[in-house]
């Protein structure tokens, strides 16, 4: 390979040297106005182009060098005072050259002057040149020769408004000439392939061919530049002829390149008006042609065009762009049997993008696209291809992005059917995309039907699908997914309680199927969503509450019980407990004593039976105490039962410190700082005293176990409770009790066995400072605090 390029370099160098050599003699002949010599040496120089040894890009170097020399020669030819030969004679004279390639280069050079001289109609000269160039059938040499012809004739075409236009020369002739040259060049180009023979198409040959593609495409560019090519002519002549050539050449590289070229060089407006013709070529292309890219680009262009101005939209409707495109895609898929699924889907993605951009208001179109994609997908047993998957995701994401609203997508009947074809992983990804879209846009899904569809769509996240490989699950991904689902549940909302209840029921139906791993994530969302409904109903209170009202808090609470019950399967007792407490509180607000009591019972049961961990117990008991404290719905009996239970549990915690804290927290159960709250000072004091005892015991235990007592923090905390209740006016809490407690703390701190502890010291200090502060405040409070002697 290396040797190959070295040889090529050598040949190139030789060729260049040859050109320079003969160019030197040619210049000398030109300087002495010797036409005969000039012709002789220029022909010899051009003979260097007869080489077959160079690959296209190196041949191009030779070509460019001769091109420059030919320009010099041309200016000599132009000046007949120098050589004294008329252009007509010159046109004959150059044809005396024995070798065809130099002869034709010279002929083209003189031909361009011939046209300029206007001694013959441009049409005739062009036609003659085009015809004579058939003499070179070698693909590379022929392509370069014809590209030279195209180059020199470009500014001499009898275009409209050009000086070469006349009675005899019309723009039609210009078009005819370029088309002819294009056809011949394409034939040569295609032939490069055939030359090498089938089955030997190497990458290198492909590369060499694509190096030459622009020479062919240049003709199309020239065509697009001709002023006289208006829509009419494009439609009637240019496009059919070009397409005929494209289709007939039966070469995949050429077909792909040229189709793309057509799409890129001609104006959008033309494409739109000739859509049918252009598209009709697509199914006729070779099965290996990448039609999807071609069509995608076309649709891209058209949709950009549509976006450019609103004025053009009627045109799109008028030519029925969508149905034509949709039609051709169907045909292409049919024609290209071997097209991979990814190709078909990509086509649909493009069409969808087109539709969304051009006809955003036509949801039926979107659905139609999805529908035809489903049809295609259903023929494929199992979509394995990763890229195809990606395309399906793109297909499904497009409408979401466009409408920024999942609600719209939910109305597309084919949307879920497409999703069914995704594999489990991709399905999840897609479901995430949907959820994220909802989140991003704060779309609110407000009807039960839509919720049903939505959950059907994201079922990959909601429940395990048969065959899913559970081991593969990444814990973090899973959490994120489930968190998203949980967030999604909050986006489902309807002001109408009845509808909202339906939504909740649907969500419940779906989430319950999620299995123990998902429930902890989803249930709480669901519960809070339901509780929100409860509060909403509460807000509607005062309206007639009769038997016929379908939605009552009671009903919802029943539902909630079931929902939370499901957590027992997980099991997640701590979460369940919290939720029960939340419900209890809500029930409290609804004045449903029995319901609230039931919830508390459930919470206590959980506490007793399920929560074994001591830390969890501490947390749980504090939660219970906190909730219970806020309850005002209970009758004395119920309340006593519950508070009794709570205090009982508090005292039975494992660690003394925890016991102490729980017990003094319980004191609040008997003193609700409300207008008509319970104010049972005695029991408060009892609790606090009990706490003190426990604190003492804790101190002693510490002494016994470690030889030093723990910090006095617990005492200070209890002191704070004393001060609180004192301030609130609990008669049972006296200033002397507080003084005594402070005394106790001071002794404890000063005792040798106590480890000095800065935190508790600071705590104490600020507590004392508070008392001082309250004293100085004056008024009722100040008076009260005055009684405390420090």
């Amino acid at each position: 390979m290396l040797n190959g390029t070295e040889d090529e370099d050598k040949w190139l160098a030789e060729g260049i040297a040859g050109i320079q050599h003969y160019a030197f003699f040619m210049h000398r002949a030109l300087d002495s106005n010797n036409l005969r010599e000039a012709l002789k040496y220029s022909a010899q120089m051009l003979s260097e182009l007869r080489t077959s040894k160079l690959p296209p890009h190196k041949y191009y170097e030779l070509y460019m060098r001769t091109f420059d020399e030919l320009k010099i020669l041309e200016s000599f030819f132009k000046d007949d005072s120098k050589h004294g030969v008329s252009v007509v004679d010159l046109y004959e004279l150059v044809q005396h050259a024995g070798n065809v390639l130099p002869r034709l280069y010279l002929l083209c050079t003189v031909g361009s002057i011939y046209i300029k001289s206007k001694e013959a109609p441009a049409k005739e000269v062009l036609k003659d040149l085009g015809e004579m160039c058939r003499g070179v059938q070698h693909p590379i040499r022929g392509l370069f020769l014809r590209s030279y012809l195209a180059q020199i004739s470009r500014d001499k075409l009898p275009d409209i408004g050009s000086e070469y236009e006349g009675d005899a020369d019309t723009v039609m002739d210009a078009v005819e000439f370029v088309l002819q040259n294009f056809t011949e060049m394409n034939k040569l180009w295609v032939r490069m392939q055939q030359h090498q023979g089938p089955g030997r198409v190497t990458e290198k040959q492909e590369k060499e061919r694509s190096e030459l593609q622009d020479l062919v495409g240049k003709n199309l560019h020239v065509l697009s530049q001709i002023e006289g090519v208006d829509l009419e002519m494009y439609k009637e002549t240019v496009l059919p002829r070009v397409l005929e050539q494209v289709v007939n050449c039966k070469d995949d590289l050429a077909q792909y390149y040229l189709m793309d070229c057509i799409i890129q060089v001609f104006p959008d407006e033309y494409h739109l008006q000739t859509l049918e013709t252009l598209l009709s070529a697509c199914p006729q292309l070779q099965p290996t042609v990448d039609v999807k890219t071609v069509l995608s680009r076309l649709m891209d262009r058209l949709s950009n065009y549509a976006a450019s101005s609103a004025d053009v939209l009627p045109e799109f409707l008028q030519v029925e762009a969508f149905s034509k495109l949709s039609n051709v895609i169907g045909k292409v898929i049919e024609a290209q049997v071997d097209m991979a699924a990814v190709g078909a889907i990509t086509l649909h993605v493009s069409l969808l993008t087109f539709t969304l951009r051009v006809h955003p208001d036509r949801l039926d179109y979107v659905d139609q696209v999805l529908g035809s994609c489903v049809k295609k997908l259903s023929n494929i047993p199992k979509l394995e291809d990763r890229r195809a998957m990606k395309q399906v995701v793109a297909l499904l994401s497009a409408p979401l992005e466009k409408y920024n609203d999942i609600v719209t997508a939910l109305t597309l009947s084919n949307y879920p059917r497409v999703m069914d074809h995704l594999d489990i992983g991709t399905n999840k990804v897609m479901a995430m995309v949907i959820i994220q879209s909802i989140m991003k846009n704060y779309s609110c899904i407000s009807t039960a039907d839509k919720v049903e569809v939505l959950f059907e769509l994201i079922k990959g996240l909601i429940k395990d699908i048969d065959g899913a490989d559970v081991d593969e699950l990444d814990e973090e991904d899973f959490k994120e997914e489930q968190n998203s689902v949980a967030r999604l549940i909050h986006m489902l909302y309807n002001d109408e309680p009845e509808e909202m209840l339906k939504i909740i029921c649907i969500v419940r139906k779906h989430t319950m199927a999620g299995g123990p791993k998902r429930l902890p994530f989803t249930v709480s969302s669901l519960v809070f969503s339901a509780l929100q409904l409860v509060r909403q109903l509460q807000g509607l209170e005062g309206d007639i509450v009769g038997e016929d009202v379908p939605v009552t808090p009671k009903k919802i609470f029943q539902l909630l019980t079931q929902i939370i019950d499901s957590l027992s399967a997980v099991p997640s007792p701590e979460l369940a407990l919290r939720l029960y407490l939340q419900c209890a509180e809500a029930a409290n607000d609804c004045d449903l004593e029995h319901v609230a009591y039931e919830f508390f019972t459930q919470a206590f049961v959980l506490y007793e039976e399920e929560i074994a961990d001591s830390k969890a117990q501490v947390t749980a008991i504090h939660l219970i105490i906190g909730t219970l404290q806020r309850m005002n719905v209970f009758g004395v009996e119920n309340r006593d039962t519950l508070t009794h239970k709570a205090t009982g549990y508090s005292a039975r915690l494992l660690k003394k410190a925890d016991q102490c804290r729980a017990v003094y927290a319980c004191s609040h159960l008997f003193w609700i700082d409300d207008q008509d709250g319970i104010k049972d000072g005695e029991r408060v004091l009892l609790c606090l005293k009990r706490a003190l005892r426990i604190a003492n015991a804790a101190q002693q235990m510490a002494n016994a176990a470690r030889g030093s007592s723990g910090p006095v923090t617990l005492f200070v905390e209890i002191l704070n409770k004393y001060i609180y209740f004192f301030e609130k006016g609990n008669q049972q809490i006296t200033s002397s009790a507080i003084e005594g407690l402070i005394e106790l703390i001071n002794t404890e701190t000063q005792s040798d066995s106590t480890n000095p502890d800065s935190i508790s010291d600071a705590f104490l200090a600020s507590t004392l400072r508070y008392i001082q502060f309250q004293k100085q405040k004056g008024g009722v409070v100040g008076e009260k605090f005055e009684s405390i002697k420090l």
Binding site: V100, V136, H138, P139
Partner: protein, 300 residues
């Protein structure tokens, strides 16, 4: 060479000139010694008028048995060199026997001479026209002087001039159809045509058109045939595919061609052929030869 050197020894100078020598067209003629000289151009039925000037060397008298001038049309076959066949021979007596003392001028005229054949300088044959002045002498060799001139004959365009069209090929390998616009071309003509490829199964490299001249001399067992290629003109570069049509446009003016001569005095013929040659990648040549008739167009 000999007679030129001899001329200096001759007792007199002989100079032959044409009456319209100044205005008459001159054409180059390649002499036997390889030099090219310009000589007068005539055509058949023209009168050849001029004068012969004989100038004896200073102070010498030339005795003679008479002076004559001959117009000869000769064919010389090179396998029989030196032996001239005269197809035309005209004589004019210029002087009766006597003596020449001083420069003397003899006008001569051959009126409307029939000169049916053109001057021709071929590989194996030469056709020439000369004027030959002979001073006959007793006992010593005659004094002879020659003057060449060239004859070219013009013909009007032929009334029938069909195109040449033919389909040829090698079975399952190569089939072509070629067409040349005429079968008779004048010397400054252009051959227009096309080669149409009906079937191409071989890898062609190029295609060229040759103009060949075939000169046959003698007759019977002594026939000599010489073929020269006068022009090689590349028509096509590269390999065509089926359905391609390659144009032919060959200007004849750059080549030194002469008309077709058929059976001149039963001595020789010169014919022209167009030879279409296709060369494949292994340098094998496939060709088809077609005779064309060349003629010298009478300019009107």
């Amino acid at each position: 060479m000999n007679y030129l050197i001899g001329a200096f020894k001759l007792p007199c100078n002989i100079c032959i000139s044409f009456a319209d020598g100044k205005s008459r067209n001159q054409v180059p003629l390649k002499k036997e010694n390889g030099k090219t000289v310009m000589v007068a151009l005539f055509q058949s039925q023209e009168s050849i008028v001029g004068e012969v000037v004989i100038e004896p060397m200073h102070g010498k008298k030339v005795e003679h048995n008479g002076v004559k001038i001959e117009l000869l049309g000769q064919i010389e076959l090179y396998f029989d060199r030196g032996n001239f066949y005269d197809f035309t021979s005209l004589v004019r007596e210029l002087d009766v026997p006597g003596e020449l003392y001083e420069r003397k001028t003899y006008p001569f005229e051959f009126s409307t001479v029939e000169m049916p054949y053109e001057s021709y300088n071929g590989v194996n044959v030469r056709l020439r026209y000369i004027l030959k002045v002979t001073i006959s002498r007793n006992y010593v060799s005659n004094i002879v002087e020659y003057q060449d001139f060239v004859v070219r004959n013009y013909t009007p365009p032929p009334s029938i001039n069909n195109s040449i069209k033919m389909e040829v090929g090698i079975e399952d390998c190569l089939h072509i159809e070629f067409e040349y616009n005429k079968s008779k071309y004048h010397l400054k003509d252009v051959i227009i045509g096309k080669i149409y490829f009906l079937l191409v199964r071989i890898k062609l490299k190029n295609m060229e058109l040759e103009i060949r001249r075939r000169e046959s001399t003698g007759s019977g067992p002594n026939t000599y045939v010489e073929t020269e290629t006068l022009a090689k003109f590349e028509l096509m570069d590269g390999a065509p595919v089926r359905g391609e049509s390659i144009p032919v446009r060959l200007f004849l003016s750059p080549y030194e061609l002469a008309p077709t001569y058929r059976n001149i005095s039963n001595k020789f013929s010169v014919k022209y052929y167009l030879n279409l040659v296709l060369v494949d990648e292994e340098d094998r040549r496939y060709f088809k030869q077609q005779e064309i008739t060349m003629y010298r167009l009478l300019e009107t």
